[in-house]
């Protein structure tokens, strides 16, 4: 940043290109992409030539997609301001995946009702979460954490941990690709575009950001605060349900512990992507950069054959650096 600015002074040129670069570098989310790109190329150094680069990118796109879909939901929740976070994402994923796959029972003709069940479970979980928050006035962190026990128990009770395979059509779709792009990535891109539109172009996005910046001010300005919060929490749960469904089809069945890593992952991609953890200031593109980065960093450290201890420590250090850089950029001059 400083370097670029010095350069501008030195040359005293204000060409459109440089201006463009500066405004580009001012985006908080650019650092996530920078980090993802860097880890990608460092990994390629140990990848034997011949298809390795493409295979790695394909795998990264595939697995980043799951983090992106839950990340978009979590991003909206985090935007609502301090203390807003949905910790029930893993349990919602598990419950939706379990119930939908159990209903379809490998029957390819029941795909549509299966998807509707997954979405319905998400909807119900979101409504339940919000009713705890609104009616019982429980802080969101506690409310979503305790409801996640309930959802998880329901999943256990409904299926006793049995793993039911997805219908052939869905298994093939979720593991397949179209034109060199994984199908799950196409879904994630569509979700991101809708998410971006809602956040940046629709009145709902303005409302969400307004609530996150100052809830009292937003209420006085006539924003339907509770309706906004209701929409955000149910939206997040629906996306979690959808991810659970796709992930269950992708990995050959719903597992009781299948969503576990997405609790932290969903928050990490939001923060690394440059959205403010304090709420009110979020972005969608960063989620993609961060999700790719989170996958690639594990691949990179695995490919270099580092031990688990070093791996976890480096992951932590790199994430801290990226978040620090992103938040510095975000500060207004």
């Amino acid at each position: 940043m400083k370097m670029i600015e010095n350069k501008i002074d030195a040359h005293a040129t204000h060409s459109a290109l440089v201006r463009g670069l500066v405004s580009f570098a001012k985006k908080q989310w650019i650092w996530a992409y920078f980090a993802a790109g860097a880890t990608y190329f460092v990994t390629l150094l140990v990848v034997p030539t011949g298809g390795g680069a493409g295979a790695l990118l394909y795998a990264a796109l595939t697995f980043a997609s799951f983090a992106v879909i839950v990340g978009v939901g979590q991003m909206f929740v985090v935007t609502l301001g301090p203390g807003n976070v949905d910790l029930s994402i893993p349990a919602t994923m598990t419950l939706a995946g379990t119930l939908a796959l159990k209903f379809m029972d490998t029957d390819s003709s029941l795909v549509v009702p299966g998807i509707l069940i997954a979405i319905g479970v998400g909807l119900a979980c979101g409504l339940f979460n919000f009713s705890l928050i609104l009616v019982l006035r429980i802080p969101p962190i506690i409310a979503t954490l305790s409801s996640s026990f309930l959802f998880q128990s329901l999943a256990i009770w409904s299926n006793r941990g049995l793993r039911i395979k997805p219908p052939e059509v869905l298994a093939n779709f979720s593991t397949g690709g179209f034109g060199g792009v994984p199908n799950v990535a196409i879904i994630a891109v569509l979700v991101s575009i809708v998410g971006w539109f809602v956040l940046e172009r629709a009145i709902a996005g303005r409302w969400i950001s307004a609530v996150g910046q100052n809830q009292r001010a937003a209420r006085l300005a006539g924003v339907p605060v509770n309706a906004v919060r209701l929409g955000v929490y149910t939206g997040c749960a629906v996306l979690a349900g959808l991810t659970g469904f796709i992930l269950a089809c992708f990995s050959g069945g719903a597992n009781l512990n299948m969503g576990t890593e997405y609790m932290l992952m969903s928050i990490a991609v939001v923060v690394i992507g440059g959205s403010s953890i304090a709420g009110g200031n979020s972005n969608v593109p960063g989620i993609w950069g961060a999700a790719l980065f989170m996958f690639l960093i594990v691949s990179m450290l695995n490919s270099y054959g580092l031990g688990a201890g070093v791996r976890l420590m480096l992951t932590g250090l790199i994430i801290v650096s990226v978040v620090a850089l992103a938040s510095r950029t975000g500060r207004r001059p």
């Binding site: 990994t43 795998a59 697995f63 049995l162 793993r163 990995s251 050959g252 490919s303 688990a308 976890l312």
Partner: protein, 339 residues
């Protein structure tokens, strides 16, 4: 006089008949056993609880023991389990069978139970408190056995991919240590190692991430619950399918069976049967009965091979884990083996 001795004879005969028919002794018929379980959130644990219900409840029904209640903590926390064990002490159980959240963190509560005269038998997740019995899994051996099998298949060696469990957990270190020790005696080389957290989806993701950087893989050593995910990742990357050692999960065995029928695919599968909870139940019953039981016992492995595959797939419920439930006789054999 005569009548008295006759009566005695009848009583003795009755005792012999009882012991001969169902159970060894009736001495434990007023004893109450509790299961303290720290976690129920995966298919292995669910099968473990179901086995307990099958065997221990039947034993209650037959009057071998008075009660065999199972309790599970919700959060897999040592503090929570310690509190649970303290409740069991107050409830006056005669024996507590425990699958512990931590080998050391609930030692205090275990000691309290022992001091209250309660027999404590830990299994799978064992405790280090000396007053408790331990039915431990020889995890190192589990690692060694995998490599031994592969070495007999491929004496010429080759490249191995290792899928580990959850970083920082004792079990993961032990299995991995066993694998590495045994690999040193063979021509194999471990060219990559990832953490799959004992979950199919995590393993699938980790393997997909490292595959592009790896040369051709001859075989994959695993820790259970991760074989199917690894197979999916190899398939998605369009790489030749290596020999993946499985961990007795139904989906792994099912996949193996399909490959066997299609291409003659060969591998092996080993893990601990969730029914080990029933072994612990019988050991506790034996101790209450006054049997001389060594403090350290070892759980036998349940192994599936090319021949037994079809039968075990048929017996294992869809989505569960290959299982055996132990009988009183089995537990006596395990006790005998440890002496």
């Amino acid at each position: 006089m005569k009548i008295k001795s006759m009566l005695l004879g009848v009583v003795a005969g009755a005792i012999i008949t009882t012991s001969g028919s169902t159970v060894a002794f009736a001495d434990t018929s007023d004893k109450r056993i509790a299961l303290s379980n720290n976690y129920a959130g995966n298919s292995w644990r669910q099968a473990m609880l179901e086995s307990w219900n099958n065997v221990a409840f039947a034993a209650v029904h037959e009057g071998v023991v008075d009660a065999a209640d199972a309790f599970t903590t919700s959060e897999n926390q040592a503090t929570e389990q310690a509190a649970q064990i303290q409740n069991m002490i107050l409830q006056g159980y005669d024996a507590i069978v425990v699958n512990a959240a931590s080998p050391t963190a609930i030692n205090g509560a275990i000691k309290e139970a022992c001091d209250a005269g309660i027999t404590v038998v830990s299994f799978d997740g064992i405790v280090t408190e000396p007053c408790a019995w331990r039915i431990a899994v020889d995890f190192k051996q589990m690692g060694r056995d995998q490599v031994k099998y592969l070495a007999s298949r491929y004496p010429e060696g080759g490249n191995l991919l290792e899928i580990r469990g959850l970083a920082g957990v004792f079990v993961d270190d032990e299995i991995s240590a066993g694998i590495h020790e045994e690999v040193a005696n063979t021509n194999f080389e471990i060219v990559g190692s990832v953490h799959g957290d004992w979950a199919q989806d995590v393993a699938q993701k980790a393997v997909a991430g490292i595959l592009p950087s790896l040369p051709e893989i001859k075989a994959v050593v695993t820790q259970g619950g991760d074989g199917y995910g690894a197979a999916q990742a190899f398939k998605a990357a369009d790489r030749p399918m290596p020999t993946i050692v499985m961990g007795n999960r139904r989906d792994e065995l099912q996949w193996w069976l399909e490959q066997k029928e299609a291409t003659g695919y060969e591998t092996t599968s080993l893990s601990i049967a969730p029914g080990v909870s029933t072994l612990a139940f019988w050991v506790a019953q034996q101790i209450l009965d006054g049997a001389d039981v060594p403090k350290d016992l070892t759980v036998p492995f349940l192994r599936v091979d090319q021949e037994s595959l079809e039968e075990i797939v048929k017996e294992t419920p869809n989505g569960s884990v290959a299982n055996v439930e132990y009988s009183l006789e089995d537990s006596k054999k395990v006790i005998q083996a440890a002496k």
